[in-house]
């Protein structure tokens, strides 16, 4: 049966694993024993009832006594099972903790190596150099932006204005090129005010 484990994988099984397996095997055995006891207890109870039904009080009592004893055994095995389970869990927990520790240690190691590669003096030097470079760049910027003369500035402004004007022109609709149609003279009927004079009258009335 043991031959079923492949050679490469077998190496991954540690002594701890075997110890846990042994604990679990023990627990399984207790569980089986437990099942058997439960069956026996049930049987004794059935027997006791049977004896009592037949009026055999003494034998019923005996069966009950046996049942009581087996129940005490049952209780003990349950306790033992709990103990085994707790122990297994503690071991598993410890193994997890060990792994966590190993993980932390590995992380710490990497961090240390990384720190070794960049000493404080190096970093300081690098930062100084960077600051110098930035200052130098700023100087260049300043020089480049102040070099232009006033005349150049004016030229630039004018060009900008021109561009803005063209932009707005492009946005507005074209003015119509054809002439407006002549207004037709409407004959004014007598007693009727023309529209324009009527408005004039209204306005003059309001003023008075």
């Amino acid at each position: 049966m043991g031959s079923s484990s492949s050679k490469g994988a077998a190496a991954k099984i540690t002594a701890h694993d075997r110890a846990i397996l042994d604990l679990k095997v023990q627990r399984d055995k207790l569980r089986q024993y437990n099942k058997r006891l439960e069956g026996v207890v049930e049987k004794e109870l059935r027997l006791a009832k049977g004896h009592l039904a037949k009026g055999e009080k003494q034998r019923a009592l005996l069966a009950l006594r046996r049942k009581k004893f087996q129940e005490s055994l049952l209780e003990k095995t349950v306790l033992q099972m709990t103990n085994l389970d707790e122990l297994t869990m503690s071991i598993e927990q410890a193994m997890v903790e060990k792994q966590v520790f190993a993980g932390l240690a590995a992380g710490n190691q990497v961090l240390k190596e990384l720190h070794k590669e960049m000493s404080l003096a190096d970093v300081e030097k690098l930062m100084d150099e960077t600051a110098d470079s930035i200052a130098y760049q700023n100087e260049i910027d300043e020089l480049l932006s102040t070099r232009l003369s006033v005349a150049d500035e004016e030229d630039i402004e004018r060009e900008l204005d021109l561009m803005v004007e063209e932009e707005t022109k492009a946005l507005l609709p074209n003015t119509p090129e054809n002439a407006l149609p002549e207004l037709e003279q409407q004959p004014v009927e007598e007693g009727m005010l023309s529209k324009a004079s009527w408005v004039d009258t209204l306005c003059s009335n309001r003023e008075t």
Binding site: M1, S5, R18, I20, R31
Partner: protein, 201 residues
């Protein structure tokens, strides 16, 4: 399916349903079904059909082991009291032999063809089921006993609860072959244990 058997089986109409809810196919009530047919092609059909019936019956009742003894030959599977027909032990053996050829069963090596394990589910399928259960229960990297998988509290509601030891062993072989798990013995060399790796389901 041979013409004569299928037609006759259909003619029989009603199929027997057991108290367990299992329904035999109507061919189960067909008397010639219980006699080993001498014609090779008919026998092939017959043994195939019996194989299917056995697999379904075993699956329904969660049985794994077939013993060629009185309790088996008297079982309602092989002994149809309604039509007073029963399979002879030799015929059962011949049927199982055919099932073994197809990989649906396996003789127990020490039983001299008196005991067979019926694989109504392939070990590969059991393997997938068990490894996904392990993954979902977060049992990767912890040690499990074979007993725990088959009879443990954690697997009570699982399909593979009370799985036959041989089937479980076969299933574990599949998992080991795939590199999903490794099986090993404890320091006392008593029970087998298994460790699932982090490969997942």
């Amino acid at each position: 399916m041979s013409q004569t058997t299928s037609n006759a089986a259909q003619g029989l109409g009603q199929a027997t349903t057991l108290a367990s809810g299992f329904q035999f196919p109507s061919i189960h009530n067909f008397p010639p079904f219980y006699t080993l047919q001498p014609t090779a092609s008919t026998w092939k059909n017959q043994s195939d059909l019996w194989g299917t019936v056995i697999m379904r019956y075993y699956r329904h009742h969660r049985l794994y082991q077939l013993d060629l003894d009185d309790s088996t030959t008297n079982d309602q599977l092989f002994n149809n009291q309604r039509i007073s027909r029963a399979l002879k032990p030799e015929t059962i053996q011949a049927i199982v032999e055919e099932m073994v050829k197809k990989g649906d069963a396996e003789w127990d090596a020490t039983s001299r063809k008196r005991r067979a394990i019926i694989f109504w589910r392939k070990p590969e399928d059991w393997a997938a089921m068990i490894s996904s259960w392990v993954f979902e229960s977060g049992l990767n990297n912890s040690i499990l006993t074979f007993y725990e998988i088959a009879h443990g509290e954690n697997s009570e509601d699982q399909e593979f609860y009370n799985i036959h030891p041989t089937v479980l062993q076969k299933t574990m072989d599949v998992l080991v072959k795939r590199g999903v798990a490794t099986t090993f013995q404890g320091a006392n060399f008593e029970e087998m244990g298994v460790k699932f790796f982090n490969a997942g389901a």
